[in-house]
C-alpha cells in the first residue's frame, strides 16, 4: 500500500517533467527551419493551395500555442498524432518499435550487471592485486570506447570472419515461432533470439558494464572498510559471508542509482546500436523521423523516451527504497 502510494506520488511528480519535455520538443520541432510540408511535396508540383490544404490537414496553419494545446489534449487521450511520413498514428508506430528497444536495453543492462558486479566485487576484494588491475584496465577501455565501434568490430569478428553469430537483425521472442522460417517451437526461437541479441547486447552493455564495475569496486572498497564489516569480522563471520552479504548489500545502493541515471545514456546508445545492427527499434524510428522531418513522430518518440526514462528512474527509486530501509517513501529527494 505504501509502495503503491509512493509510486503514484512519483508518477504525479513526473507530470510536470513530461509536460516540460513536451514543451521543449514542441518548440524545437516547430521553431526550426525544416518545413515538413515542403519536404512532403518535394518532387511534386506544389501550388500554394496544395500547401495550404496540407497545412490545414495537419493543423499547421494555426498559431503555435493552439497547436500545442491540441497536441496535449490529444496526448491525454493517448493520441500522439499522425506521422506525416508513414501516414500512421504515431502511437502505433511507437508500439511497434518499442519491443526491440526495450529488449535490447534491458538485456544490455542484464549483461552489464551480471558481469560488472562480480568483477567489481572481486576487484575490490583483491584490491591492488593483478586481478584488480586487469579489471580496472578493462573498465577503462569500456568507458572509453564508442559502442558503435565495438559493434562494428564485433560484427567483423564474430559474424563475418568466424560466422558464429548473425550480423544484424533480431528475433522477437514474443512472436509465435511459426512466424520465422525454420524455427520449430519456442525453445528454438529463444535460442535464435539470444544469438541475435548477443552482439548488440555486448556493444551496448559494455559502457554500462564498465561504469557499473567502477562504481561497484569503489563502493565495495568503501563498504569493506565500514564499521559494520569490522564488527562482523570481530564476531567471527566468515570473510565470504561478509563479502557476499554484509559488505555487498550496502554497496549495491549506489549501483541502483547509477543504473537509473545511466538509463538515458543507454537509450541514446540504443540508437547507435540499432543502427549498426539493423535492429528495428525506437532508435531507428527516431532517425527516420528526423530524416523525414516528421516532427509529429519526433515529438512522439522524444516524449516516449522521456517517459521511459522517468519510469525507469521511478523503478530504480522504488527498488532503492526496497533495498535501503533508511529511505522512507516520498521523503527522498
Amino acid at each position: 500500500m505504501k509502495l503503491l502510494k509512493y509510486t503514484i506520488y512519483r508518477l504525479l511528480q513526473a507530470i510536470p517533467v513530461l509536460i516540460g519535455i513536451s514543451v521543449i520538443t514542441f518548440l524545437l520541432a516547430n521553431l526550426g527551419p525544416g518545413d515538413p510540408v515542403s519536404l512532403m511535396l518535394q518532387g511534386q508540383e506544389h501550388s500554394e493551395e496544395l500547401v495550404r490544404a496540407i497545412e490545414q490537414r495537419y493543423g499547421l496553419d494555426r498559431p503555435l500555442h493552439e497547436r500545442y494545446i491540441t497536441y496535449m489534449s490529444g496526448l491525454l487521450e493517448g493520441d500522439l498524432g499522425q506521422s506525416i511520413y508513414y501516414q500512421r498514428p504515431v502511437s502505433a508506430l511507437i508500439l511497434d518499435r518499442l519491443g526491440p528497444t526495450l529488449l535490447l536495453v534491458l538485456s544490455a543492462y542484464a549483461f552489464a550487471l551480471v558481469t560488472a558486479i562480480p568483477l567489481g566485487v572481486v576487484a575490490a576484494n583483491r584490491r591492488n592485486e593483478p586481478t584488480d588491475h586487469a579489471s580496472r584496465v578493462a573498465a577503462l577501455f569500456g568507458v572509453s570506447t564508442p559502442s558503435f565501434w565495438i559493434g562494428i568490430v564485433l560484427i567483423l569478428i564474430f559474424a563475418v570472419k568466424l560466422g558464429w553469430l548473425p550480423s544484424s537483425g533480431l528475433y522477437y521472442p514474443w512472436r509465435p515461432p511459426s512466424s520465422y522460417p525454420g524455427i520449430n517451437g519456442h525453445l528454438e526461437l529463444y535460442y535464435e533470439t539470444a544469438r541475435h541479441l548477443l552482439l548488440p547486447m555486448i556493444a551496448l552493455g559494455t559502457l554500462q558494464m564498465a561504469t557499473i564495475m567502477r562504481v561497484e569496486r569503489t563502493q565495495m572498497i568503501e563498504s569493506l572498510q565500514g564499521e559494520y564489516v569490522k564488527l562482523a569480522r570481530a564476531y567471527g563471520v566468515p570473510e565470504r559471508t561478509i563479502l557476499r552479504k554484509h559488505a555487498f548489500q550496502v554497496a549495491q545502493l549506489p549501483i541502483i542509482t547509477i543504473v537509473g541515471a545511466n538509463l538515458s545514456t543507454a537509450i541514446g546508445g540504443a540508437v547507435l546500436t540499432e543502427t549498426v545492427f539493423n535492429i528495428n527499434g525506437m532508435g531507428q524510428l527516431f532517425i527516420e523521423a528526423i530524416q523525414q522531418n516528421d516532427y509529429q513522430l519526433v515529438m512522439g518518440i522524444t516524449m516516449m523516451l522521456g517517459f521511459l526514462f522517468v519510469v525507469g528512474v521511478i523503478i530504480t527509486d522504488i527498488s532503492y527504497a526496497y533495498v535501503d530501509p533508511r529511505v522512507t517513501y516520498g521523503e527522498r529527494d
Partner: protein, 527 residues
C-alpha cells in the same frame, strides 16, 4: 508499372546519400544455408514504405514485392522493352496514337479466383488519377477508358498522343477492381494480384513473405516456393549479412565491396546497367556558371573517366548524354558523337577558360549528397584547386539538399550533384529535368536554352512514334551536351550478390523487377 519511378523513385537516389541508415527492417534470417528451407531470403537495400497496392505504391522497394504478386498488362523484359503479359499482344493504335485498344488474356485470373477483365485493367489505368494517388501524374494523359467487352479495353488519350505510352505507361500493373474497391486499406496491406506468387505475410517495417501461387494462370512455374523480403539500409550491414550467410541475396553493392565479394567464396555477383542518370547540374540562373564557357571549363578541369575508373568501376558505367545507355540501346542516339562533344580532361584549357570568363576568386559551391557523388565533388574541387581555383564542397543530408538545390540562388550553389531514374523513354530524363516546368521543383539549373528547346521537349512528350520523336529529341540532347546545363556523370548499375546455392539469378535493369524470380528467360532456384 514503372510510373512510380519518374517521381518518387528519385527519392531513392537522393536518399541513398543520407546518413548511415534510415529505416531498416529487422531480421536477417538466420542460417539460411543450413536450415535447408526452400525459402529465399532477399535483403533489399532500402526500407519499403509498405504500400502494396500498385495504385498507391510508388516506392521501388514495395514494388519489388508487387511485381511478383501482380502481373502487368505488359512487362519489361531484360532489355527494358515491354512485352505482353496479361495482354494477348501488341495494342491496336488508332486516332494518330491517341487511342489504344488492348486485348486481354482470357485465361488470366486473380488469386481470389476472379477473372482478369477489361474492367480491372481500366480501373488500373484510371484509379491513380481518380483517387489522386501519388501515381496520378503517370496516368493523367489518359482521358477516358471504355470497356468494349470483358476482354477488350479501349483507352483514349487527350488531343495529343503521349510519347512514353507504349514504352512505359501500358506496363500498368493490373489490380482486381471489385476486390480492391471493397476495402482499399486492406488491399494495400494484403494485396491480391494475378502474378505467379501470392502475398502471405506482412510484418510492417520488418518483413514481407510471399508464396508460390500454385494455380497461376500462365505457363510460368517458379522453382522458389517462398520468398521473404527484408530491408537493410546500411550497405556495410548487407555485405556483412551475405558474407556471414545470413541471407540468400542482397541488393545494392558498393563499389569497394564488389571487389571484396569477388574474392569471397560462396558468393556470386550480379549486375545490370540501369536507366539511371547521375549528373552535375550548373546554376544557369545566377552567378558565373550562367556562362557556358565556365561550365565547359569545369568539365575540362577533371577527368570523369578516371574518376569512374577509380571510384566506381564495379558499379557504374560512363554516360555521355542525359539518356542512360540502357535506354539508348532502344533509341540509338549518336552516343559516340556526344562523347566527342563533351569537354575532355584538359587543365590548361580549363584554366584559360576560367581565367577569361570566371571571376578571379572563383570558388564555386558544390552541393551533393553523401557517397560517390560527394567523392566526385571532392575530386572536382581538388582539380579546380590545382589550376588555381577551388570549390566549396558541401555534403548535405537529404532534407537540406532538397530544400536547397531548387532555389536557383547563386549563394546556395553553383553546382549540384544528383541522380534520376526513369524508364525506357527519353521523356523521363528530358521533361522533368530540363523542361522549364520542372524549374524550382525537379531541377534547379533553370536552363533557358535556345529558342524552341522547351517546346521541343514538350512536343516530344506529346508525339507518338519513335522515329518522329527521335528527330525531335536528338537536337535537344545535342544542345544539352553542348551547353552543359548538366554534365552527364555516370549511370549506376543494379547490383546484387547471392550465395552460391541460389541459381539462375540475374539482375534486371529495372530496379523494380529485382529479383526476377521467374520469367520467360529465367527461373531462380535454391539448391
Amino acid at each position: 508499372m514503372s510510373r512510380q519511378m519518374s517521381e518518387l523513385t528519385r527519392r531513392r537516389l537522393l536518399g541513398s546519400g543520407a546518413a548511415v541508415s534510415a529505416a531498416a527492417i529487422a531480421g536477417c534470417i538466420g542460417g539460411s544455408e543450413s536450415d535447408g528451407s526452400d525459402q529465399l531470403h532477399f535483403t533489399q537495400e532500402q526500407s519499403r514504405e509498405e504500400n502494396f497496392d500498385p495504385v498507391i505504391s510508388n516506392d521501388a522497394y514495395s514494388f519489388q514485392v508487387i511485381q511478383l504478386i501482380f502481373d502487368g498488362l505488359y512487362e519489361f523484359d531484360e532489355g527494358l522493352e515491354l512485352q505482353p503479359k496479361l495482354a494477348t499482344g501488341e495494342p491496336t493504335v488508332e486516332r494518330d496514337g491517341t487511342r489504344y485498344i488492348f486485348e486481354i488474356e482470357e485465361a488470366a485470373e486473380f488469386h481470389n479466383g476472379e477473372d482478369v477483365t477489361a474492367e480491372d485493367v481500366a480501373h488500373s489505368f484510371t484509379a491513380p488519377v481518380e483517387e489522386e494517388t501519388e501515381n496520378a501524374s503517370s496516368y493523367n494523359m489518359i482521358e477516358s477508358t471504355e470497356v468494349i467487352d470483358d476482354y477488350q479495353l479501349q483507352v483514349d488519350l487527350g488531343e495529343d498522343p503521349y510519347g512514353p505510352f507504349e514504352l512505359q505507361t501500358m506496363g500498368v500493373t493490373v489490380v482486381p477492381k471489385s476486390y480492391r474497391t471493397e476495402d482499399r486499406e486492406n488491399f494495400n496491406k494484403n494485396p491480391v494480384g494475378a502474378g505467379p506468387f501470392e502475398f502471405s505475410e506482412l510484418q510492417e517495417n520488418e518483413y514481407v513473405e510471399i508464396e508460390k501461387y500454385d494455380d497461376y494462370w500462365g505457363d510460368l512455374d517458379p522453382n522458389i516456393e517462398q520468398a521473404r523480403f527484408v530491408a537493410h539500409d546500411d550497405a556495410a550491414g548487407r555485405i556483412s549479412e551475405i558474407r556471414a550467410g545470413n541471407t540468400d541475396v542482397i541488393a545494392g553493392i558498393p563499389n569497394d565491396d564488389w571487389s571484396v565479394l569477388e574474392n569471397e567464396e560462396g558468393v556470386t555477383l550480379h549486375s545490370s546497367e540501369s536507366p539511371t542518370y547521375m549528373y552535375m547540374a550548373f546554376n544557369c540562373n545566377e552567378g558565373p556558371t550562367t556562362n557556358p564557357e565556365v561550365r565547359r571549363a569545369i568539365a575540362h578541369s577533371f577527368s570523369m573517366s578516371d574518376f569512374i575508373e577509380s571510384n566506381g568501376e564495379n558499379v557504374t558505367s560512363p554516360m555521355y548524354s542525359p539518356i542512360p545507355p540502357v535506354v539508348n540501346e532502344i533509341w540509338e542516339f549518336p552516343e559516340d558523337e556526344y562523347q566527342d562533344m563533351l569537354p575532355e580532361y584538359d587543365p590548361d584549357q580549363a584554366k584559360s577558360l576560367l581565367d577569361e570568363h570566371a571571376p578571379d576568386d572563383f570558388t564555386p559551391t558544390i552541393i551533393t549528397p553523401e557517397g560517390i557523388r560527394a567523392q566526385l565533388a571532392e575530386r572536382i574541387a581538388t582539380r579546380l584547386d590545382e589550376i588555381g581555383y577551388g570549390a566549396d564542397v558541401q555534403v548535405l543530408d537529404f532534407a537540406t539538399l532538397v530544400d536547397t538545390y531548387t532555389s536557383g540562388n547563386a549563394d546556395d550553389y553553383q553546382m549540384y550533384l544528383l541522380g534520376w531514374t526513369g524508364g525506357p523513354d527519353p521523356d523521363y530524363y528530358l521533361y522533368p529535368l530540363f523542361h522549364e516546368s520542372g524549374a524550382g521543383t525537379n531541377q534547379g539549373h533553370y536552363y533557358d536554352g535556345s529558342d524552341g528547346f522547351h517546346e521541343a521537349i514538350a512536343e516530344g512528350r506529346n508525339s507518338a512514334g519513335q522515329e518522329e520523336r527521335y528527330e525531335i529529341y536528338e537536337p535537344v540532347i545535342r544542345e544539352i551536351v553542348e551547353q552543359l546545363p548538366a554534365l552527364p556523370a555516370f549511370t549506376q548499375d543494379n547490383t546484387m550478390a547471392s550465395r552460391n546455392h541460389v541459381q539462375d539469378l540475374q539482375a534486371h535493369p529495372n530496379v523494380n523487377r529485382n529479383p526476377t524470380l521467374v520469367a520467360d528467360y529465367t527461373n531462380v532456384s535454391l539448391e
